[in-house]
Symmetry: C2
Subunit: 270 residues, 2 copies
């Protein structure tokens, strides 16, 4: 556990604030407490299929009142990363609902086969036909310095009709074909956490990431220089504490976070 | 150079028997000599878009009279490998022109989402839409022991209208999504050479691979226990002899092969 408690907070959503269709008891009060006390915080999620307003809508259903600008998705982080790199004219391979969030970067028209400042890949789902993937490939090959930006490396997800390939498979296809590594702007990538910390106006050592995934949340954050706190909700299992990752603290749930931040010895421990 | 000259021969096509639209001088006579002397031999190529009869047709244009059963493509090798594994009902993700070569294995119907004995991936080109790649993925996930068989790992090729993704990109996508390594049945994979050697009824130490690619042909064959001979035609450059691969012999062209096989000291050297 760090000597000094962090000043800023990054909060995972699924498994921390809610589990399935149910709010985690005390989560709404904990978030309200952060807001009331002026604790710099962001809500971080790897979702690439929903824009920020949809995340805000979902949290509202669990009694959480959250500002859009406090939600960090890989899309938001990618926009900030591209701006920091001075990149414009990105070619977007993302769902229409999220493409709008790149508007300020003057995206490349969908029929252009050259001139991309970056190639941004998310979960296009059914829209991944040969011509589309080949266009992403050609745009990368047309410029040796054009970055391949991945909004995630998820392998697949479980849809109502069965398993479905996610963005990660297509990112790997492009990495292999071009011989180029993707910049991954989702958890647990360091670039994701670095951009999130910058959004809070703090340094990594001043920020805690709170999550239920001991690898993606806790280990990923620790590797980026943040404090990593694990909660015993969501996907947590006791075996998580037997592995190689040592959380800086383990809390019964996010409800204990405000007390832990103020150093209350009754709130959780290492 | 081995003490005893090999008894059987594997011959690369492009760059060894012909270069572009021109036959290599003496190639037809060299092949006729192997046939006349009863030297066990096969013609090996990584092409997956043409069936064997098309390869035979092409060689005939260069004055080479070759039997279909002496041509080994990744498709032919895949069929033999699947038979050796006792696998039937492969799900085929290969061009229609080559799918026919799998007929004896009773391929899975194109709409079946389970029950594949293997998933075989070639260069489907334009036919790679999301539903098709996702079907390959689901078939693999439906059976933990279902092998992913790749007919090649080429990244891309140059079509008249520009670069086009080849099978390798899709193989990598499936490997990543399933967490499973593909069995690659093209040069320079050891399984390819092992099957080719079996087709000759010989052991690896009795067979020489003759090629113009110091890595894919010579090194690949040597790793599989074959003798590897490099020819100074096709993609050969003098720099090939400065690298880490030591060919067992270097011949000016395939025209020198018959004399080299009989141990004629005037024919090439190490």
């Amino acid at each position: 556990m760090p000597d000094r408690r962090p000043r800023g907070v990054l909060l995972d959503l699924d498994g921390v604030l809610y589990v399935g269709d149910a709010a985690v008891p005390g989560a709404a009060e904990a978030v309200a407490s952060l807001q009331r006390d002026g604790v710099p915080h962001c809500f971080v999620t790897n979702t690439t299929s929903r824009p920020r307003w949809a995340v805000v809508d979902k949290l509202a259903r669990f009694g959480l009142t959250v500002d859009e600008e406090d939600v960090l998705t890989p899309v938001v982080v990618a926009v900030q990363w591209l701006q920091a790199q001075g990149v414009t004219r990105p070619a977007l391979f993302v769902p229409a609902a999220t493409a709008a969030e790149f508007a300020a970067l003057d995206p490349l028209p969908a029929d252009a086969e050259e001139g991309a400042g970056a190639v941004v890949v998310g979960d296009l789902g059914e829209a991944w036909d040969f011509a589309t993937l080949n266009r992403a490939f050609r745009l990368l090959m047309a410029g040796p310095d054009v970055p391949l930006v991945a909004l995630g490396t998820t392998r697949y997800w479980r849809a109502p009709d069965g398993l479905r390939l996610d963005a990660g498979a297509y990112v790997r296809a492009l990495e292999y074909a071009t011989g180029r590594d993707a910049v991954v702007l989702g958890k647990p990538n360091p670039a994701f956490y670095a951009t999130a910390v910058e959004a809070l106006g703090l340094s990594p050592g001043e920020v805690v990431m709170v999550g239920d995934d001991v690898r993606g949340d806790v280990e990923g954050a620790q590797r980026a220089g943040l404090t990593g706190v694990l909660v015993r909700t969501g996907k947590f299992t006791p075996a998580d504490l037997q592995g190689p990752v040592r959380p800086d603290a383990v809390l019964d749930s996010v409800a204990d976070l405000p007390a832990w931040l103020t150093g209350d010895p009754a709130a959780g421990g290492g």
